[in-house]
């Protein structure tokens, strides 16, 4: 079969192209949208502050599981002191950014998509156009920026809470020496590792927010269409985050 005539592949390529063009539209309007910081602050609150509870809860339990797992594995080699290293590197480099992005897609991404989709289906976006107001600038860009700014902040929160959870199990419960735990961690973690997490959270912020606003803005203006768009947001952004995570991890390993 000729690859170009494959409708599935063609659809996927077309979607990537359309999303990229949409990103261009969004980026071109960031300047004018900054003239109304109030709109952006509100979206940071909606996407960020309202996701805090789920991020804190998840971070705590992920950290605690890392503590348990790390202790179980390392004690077999008599090197329990390394629990902190596993928890710190695992969280900073991979789990913090990835899990935050996945949770964010489910919590904030879906609400962005359905909100924009519903605004479209109730003709609010058309009404804006009729009032000579550009809906991309007023509706899409503030939401995109809100998500983009919230993501690194949420990732940082997740990571700090997870580190706390890991030491809670490793040091407090399993009795690893606190001094050894932290000094091993300090020796193993470099600025390069922190950067990896920061860069990932920024990239995931763009990816998840872009997919969410794109799907909302291009949803069919019907109840079914908005539902499908919301589902697509979760599916596409989750897969995208995992793929990007692999690529970025590989890239950071080679630049070490």
């Amino acid at each position: 079969m000729n690859a170009v005539s494959d409708p599935l592949l063609l659809g996927a390529v077309r979607r990537v192209g359309a999303t990229t063009l949409f990103l261009g539209q969004v980026l071109a309007r960031i300047g004018p949208a900054l003239a109304r910081p109030g709109l952006i602050v509100r979206q940071i609150y909606n996407a960020g502050a309202r996701s805090l509870v789920i991020i804190i809860l998840s971070g705590m339990f992920v950290g605690m599981v890392l503590g348990l797992l790390g202790f179980d594995v390392f004690q077999r080699f008599g090197s329990e002191d390394y629990v902190g290293v596993l928890a710190a590197l695992g969280n900073l480099k991979v789990l913090g950014p990835v899990l935050t992005a996945l949770l964010f897609a489910g919590r904030a991404g879906t609400s962005l998509t359905s909100e924009i989709g519903l605004m479209k289906s109730t003709e609010q976006l058309t009404a804006m156009q009729m009032m000579a107001v550009d809906p991309v600038r007023y509706v899409v860009v503030p939401r995109f920026l809100g998500g983009f700014i919230a993501m690194p902040l949420l990732t940082a929160t997740f990571t700090v809470i997870a580190l706390f959870g890991a030491q809670l199990i490793g040091v407090q419960q399993m009795g690893v020496d606190s001094g050894a735990y932290w000094s091993q961690t300090q020796n193993a973690v470099h600025l390069h590792d922190v950067w990896e997490g920061v860069v990932k959270s920024l990239v995931f912020g763009v990816a998840v927010s872009l997919v969410a606003v794109y799907e909302g803005y291009h949803s069919e203006p019907t109840p079914e269409g908005v539902g499908l768009a919301t589902t697509r947001t979760v599916v596409i952004s989750s897969v995208l985050v995992l793929v990007l995570n692999y690529l970025l991890t590989a890239a950071f390993l080679t630049t070490k």
């Binding site: 519903l118 605004m119 109730t122 003709e123 609010q124 058309t126 009404a127 804006m128 156009q129 009729m130 009032m131 000579a132 107001v133 007023y138």
Partner: protein
């Protein structure tokens, strides 16, 4: 003018004019493309052939900047109001002012409250759209549509789903806006009796063409069968009750054969 979606012509050979300072009504059964006509007027869609002119300029030739400039001179009332659900009534009406002008807050407040007062909803300024009834939402949308002092007001099915009192109120407001502000009004609707009380000129559309035009009174006394059917609300006439289908008897009998 011709306009087609997916090869199916919505309009073919349509020729209508709405005159300055008057209320022009476009009537017709559901699905005749009345809303599509509004999209063509406002530049949300473009005619395949022919021309659509607003304020004397061809809509299709406008750049997006000029199109937005043209739309600032138009107000549009959507079927369900299309209020922005995350803003309260006051902010909804203030929205076009904030987007297009740098007026001081005191002046914005003054304008918003006078427009809300003119639709009788000054007291509802701090309510959210979800707290409004259908009729109230449409009145707020009307206040929003006139806040920039447009030259043309477009009403898309302003009476749909309203109780008789709200209908009367909207009717009166349409008339008032036209008389007091001299706004050219275009009303698209299938509520024949409401339109008859306010419209200066009316066009009856069917199957992409104008079937009849004139004052509402002239249409009421028309001899054309399609006009009589529509104005009188009759099930039988040139517009068939049945959607085109295969032969009734053979379809039923075929089904029986197949299930045997």
């Amino acid at each position: 003018m011709r306009y087609a979606i997916g090869g199916r012509a919505i309009f073919d050979g349509l020729d209508v004019t709405a005159r300055r300072g008057r209320i022009t009504a476009f009537m017709g059964p559901s699905g005749t493309g009345k809303t599509t006509l509004l999209k063509l007027i406002t530049g949300q869609a473009y005619a395949e052939r022919g021309s659509v002119r607003v304020f004397g300029t061809e809509v299709a030739t406008l750049s997006s900047r000029d199109l937005f400039a043209m739309r600032r001179r138009m107000g549009m009332l959507f079927q369900n109001g299309a209020l922005l659900t995350d803003l309260d009534v006051y902010e909804n009406v203030a929205f076009p002012l904030r987007a297009h002008t740098d007026l001081p807050e005191s002046l914005v407040r003054h304008l918003v409250l006078t427009k809300l007062h003119s639709v009788g909803l000054r007291g509802a300024a701090r309510l959210m759209p979800a707290e409004l009834s259908g009729g109230m939402a449409r009145r707020v949308a009307l206040a929003r549509a006139i806040v920039m002092d447009p030259d043309i007001l477009i009403y898309d099915e302003p009476f749909v789903g309203l109780d008789p009192i709200s209908m009367g109120v909207i009717c009166r407001l349409i008339k008032q806006m036209n008389e007091a502000l001299g706004i050219t009004s275009i009303v698209v609707s299938h509520d024949v009796h409401e339109l008859a009380t306010i419209a200066h000129d009316s066009f009856l559309l069917s199957e992409g063409r104008v079937v009849a035009s004139g004052t509402p009174d002239e249409l009421n006394h028309s001899d054309i069968p399609a006009v009589r059917q529509f104005m009188g609300g009759l099930a039988d006439g040139p517009v068939p009750f049945h959607f085109p289908a295969s032969d009734y008897r053979s379809e039923l009998l075929d089904g029986e054969e197949a299930s045997r």
